[in-house]
């Protein structure tokens, strides 16, 4: 792409993102994101699920800018709690606790916080640039995708989701499968038959994405948190001296660069995202370090790398969502939900049909990152005080908004019952150690896969060979097969388990 069109696109983006309203939504997203990032037990997926119905009231641009802000905002906020309280505010900042909190204990909390925020900012800028450069050619390519290509790409995506899930492969597989089954409920597009509806007309259109996501993520998390004893009043360490030493900066440069690159790459992969990126970046730094035994005792590299990586990944995971309309993780599934509420079908055509929305959102990411540095560094004392709000009060407020939100989508009381049922179901899954994220991906991708499979078969007049005749489709399928093989090979499986254990 020429520099000229690139600049024109960015100018359009700036004109959308820098209106007073959209700056406001961006700030709102960044603030909410930081807040829930700081608070352990409220994640971006749950928050976005709870806010989805509210976004219907906003213009599409404002809604998506805000939702995006929540995601990357949470990456900033999560590190604060991790460093100061030794609790991961966000699952993607789990590894930050290892060295970050040790630094805080040694009185270097300010340095750790500053490096985390600046590293995140740097990573955010680079990743935003990556989207600007990569999105247009990718979405042009995607416009040539036929149903069989989409189908094979989704097979690949689901295989990735299973391989990259942090827990047991078998459970991840089970969850994906269960999600696909739940996705089958409703009226079949090709025959008009209703499936698994038991004659209940509320189920004819299938289970709604918002009630399911809200239940499994939002409500279940609230139940789980309420069953835990509160243990947050540990937040006592005082922060002084927010300026990192020259030594800290010097040692952080390379880890930030490596973290940004690795995180950016892992963010694009289906099933990847911020959590995987931070784990991998930490492991990589440990491998490369001349003194790996010192990790866990307050090494600045152990803060710089994963914090840059998680933010880079949070940003680049927007690429497959924006260009293909395919969610690479649960957060992107939420973004897709947000688009669909506004009647926008996610896919390669969004960039052409809604260029203002597309580029505005991307520019807002950079603005949002800038806001977050300002929000996080000087105001750190304020955020830490958030930890003193008793969870039992927060929980009631969240539940309240949840019920109103879901009801207002379709004015249907039954959907409120559905979130209650899925809340209990999600809690059960949590107790069983099953991750709900693959469930959500299966729920979203399963029916899409079915539709594309049958559409491809219909268009080929019943010839299944189309899946291997199209070069794109064939490539995706082969890649998926290789990946699956790898998971089954024992040595690779052990390496994968070790990688996740290192972090924990």
């Amino acid at each position: 792409m020429e520099i000229g069109t690139l600049l024109a696109n960015l100018a359009l983006g700036v004109s959308v993102a820098v209106t007073l309203q959209n700056l406001g939504w961006c700030l709102a997203g960044a603030v909410i994101g930081t807040a829930i990032g700081v608070l352990p037990g409220v994640g971006p997926v749950a928050t976005m699920a709870l806010l989805l119905p509210v976004t219907y009231l906003l213009p599409a641009e404002g809604a998506l800018i805000m939702l995006a802000g929540i995601y990357y905002g949470a990456q900033y906020g999560g590190s604060t709690t991790a460093i100061l309280v030794n609790l991961p505010g966000e699952s993607s900042s789990v590894v930050t606790t290892l060295d970050g909190h040790q630094m805080a204990r040694q009185g270097r909390a300010g340095s750790a916080l500053a490096i985390a925020a600046l590293g995140s900012f740097f990573a955010g800028c680079i990743a935003t640039l990556a989207i600007v450069v990569a999105a247009p050619p990718l979405s042009r390519l995607a416009q040539q995708f036929r149903p069989e290509d989409y189908f094979s790409l989704m097979v690949l995506g689901l295989v990735f989701a299973i391989v990259l899930a942090s827990g047991s492969v078998l459970k991840a597989f089970g969850m994906v499968f269960l999600g696909m089954l739940l996705g089958l409920v409703g009226t079949d597009v090709n025959t008009g038959n209703t499936r698994f509806t038991f004659g209940i007309s509320d189920l004819f259109d299938g289970i709604g994405f918002v009630p399911l996501a809200m239940g499994v993520f939002g409500i279940a998390e609230i139940i789980a948190n309420l069953t835990n004893r509160e243990r947050r009043d540990l937040a006592t360490s005082r922060v002084s001296g927010l300026l990192p030493t020259r030594e800290d900066i010097r040692r952080s440069v390379a880890p930030v660069l490596r973290g940004t690159f690795l995180g950016g790459l892992l963010g694009i992969l289906p099933g990847g995202g911020a959590i995987l990126a931070s784990f991998s970046a930490y492991t990589l730094e440990k491998r490369l370090s001349p003194t790996p035994e010192k990790f866990g005792t307050g090494m600045i590299e152990g803060v710089a790398a994963p914090e840059s990586a998680n933010n880079a990944a949070a940003q680049t995971s927007f690429i497959p969502m924006l260009t293909l309309g395919i969610p690479s993780n649960a957060v992107m599934a939420m973004m897709i939900g947000g688009m669909m509420i506004h009647g926008i079908i996610p896919g390669p055509q969004v960039m052409e049909q809604r260029p203002g929305l597309f580029w505005g959102m991307i520019v807002s990411m950079w603005i949002g990152n800038l806001m977050l540095v300002v929000l996080n560094l000087p105001l750190i004392g304020l955020w830490v005080r958030l930890l003193l709000v008793p969870y039992r009060l927060l929980a009631i407020a969240i539940l309240f908004f949840c019920c109103i939100g879901v009801y207002s989508l379709n004015n249907s009381a039954n959907e409120v019952l559905i979130i209650a049922a899925f809340g209990l179901f999600g809690y059960l899954l949590m107790k069983l150690g099953c991750e709900p994220a693959p469930l959500l991906l299966g729920f979203l991708l399963g029916p899409m896969m079915e539709v594309y499979l049958r559409r491809a078969m219909l268009l080929s007049r019943g010839d299944p060979l189309v899946f291997v005749q199209r070069p794109l489709s064939l490539a995706f399928l082969l890649l998926a097969a290789v990946l699956l093989l790898f998971v089954v090979v024992p040595t690779v499986r052990k390496a994968r388990e070790r990688a996740f254990r290192d972090g924990n």
Binding site: Q143, G192, P348
Partner: protein
Amino acid sequence: MRCREAFLRFAWVALAASLFVGIPARAQNPAQNWPDRPVKLILPYAPGGATDLIGRPWAEKLSQAFGQQFVIENRGGAAGAIGTETAAKTAPDGYTFLLTPNATLSILPLLRTTPYDPVKSFLPVGRVGDIVGGFVIHPAVGPKTFKEMVEYAKKNPGKLSFGSAGLGTATQLRLEMLKWRAGIDILHVPYRGSADALNDLLPNTVQMMNEINVLPHVKAGKLILLNINYSQRHPDFPDVPTLTELGYPNSDVPIWFGILAPAGTPKEIVDKLNAKIVEIAKSDDMKARMQALSVVLPLQTPEEVAKHLEEDTKRNADVIRIANIKLD
């Protein structure tokens, strides 16, 4: 204490007065003061679709005309059956109406048992819009006119694919009507809504469609509009002939929208609302807003709407029988 007594006395008087005055007055003529509180318009689809796009200007204009809020309630689900059922089962007091495309009335009940009767459950009030669209084809296929498309389809039976908004939707009926009248074979590919179908039409994965969302792409030169599926030409495409002009009379069956009241609603209220609908439909402002959506506004009395619904249902039943369209 005195205060309380005074209040109690006042309450008694008020109660007695309402017993003697209020209730008989209501029973006498509920239509006279109608509407004296907000009116609900049920739309049987989710926000953002064509029904919503057409319904919102109507709610706005009716609110202005009556000085009472007409509030839209989106009750989507089950291809429109849930919202339509809700409207059918509310009290016929003149404060709840249904604004729906013909699909829930003259198509869905022919394909599936619905929890309402399209004729017995409702009183038609007015027709609030007809969609003016037509068949489009991807330019890479070759045919540039309707006639060429028919010749192409006859030479290559089953080679063309048509993307519809879904099974049993009005656009599928358009296709089946075309196949039957022109004697050609085109593959029907159902999508989830017209936006989804358009995504596959633009790269020529399917070759044809018949929805209003394709018209901007016709203007941009990316698709070819072959004909108009309406009794008159589209003002934005004055050179494109209607099906009747092309030699297929009685094939121009429009997708139309109506406002209906639950059966039992007082006739005075229905007439009052119809009069305002006709008045609004005549205004230039409303015409312009609807034309932007490729919608025209026919003026009809409640009786004419009822007759039109009956004819529409009969015509659709023929197409469904001949094309053998089935849901569960």
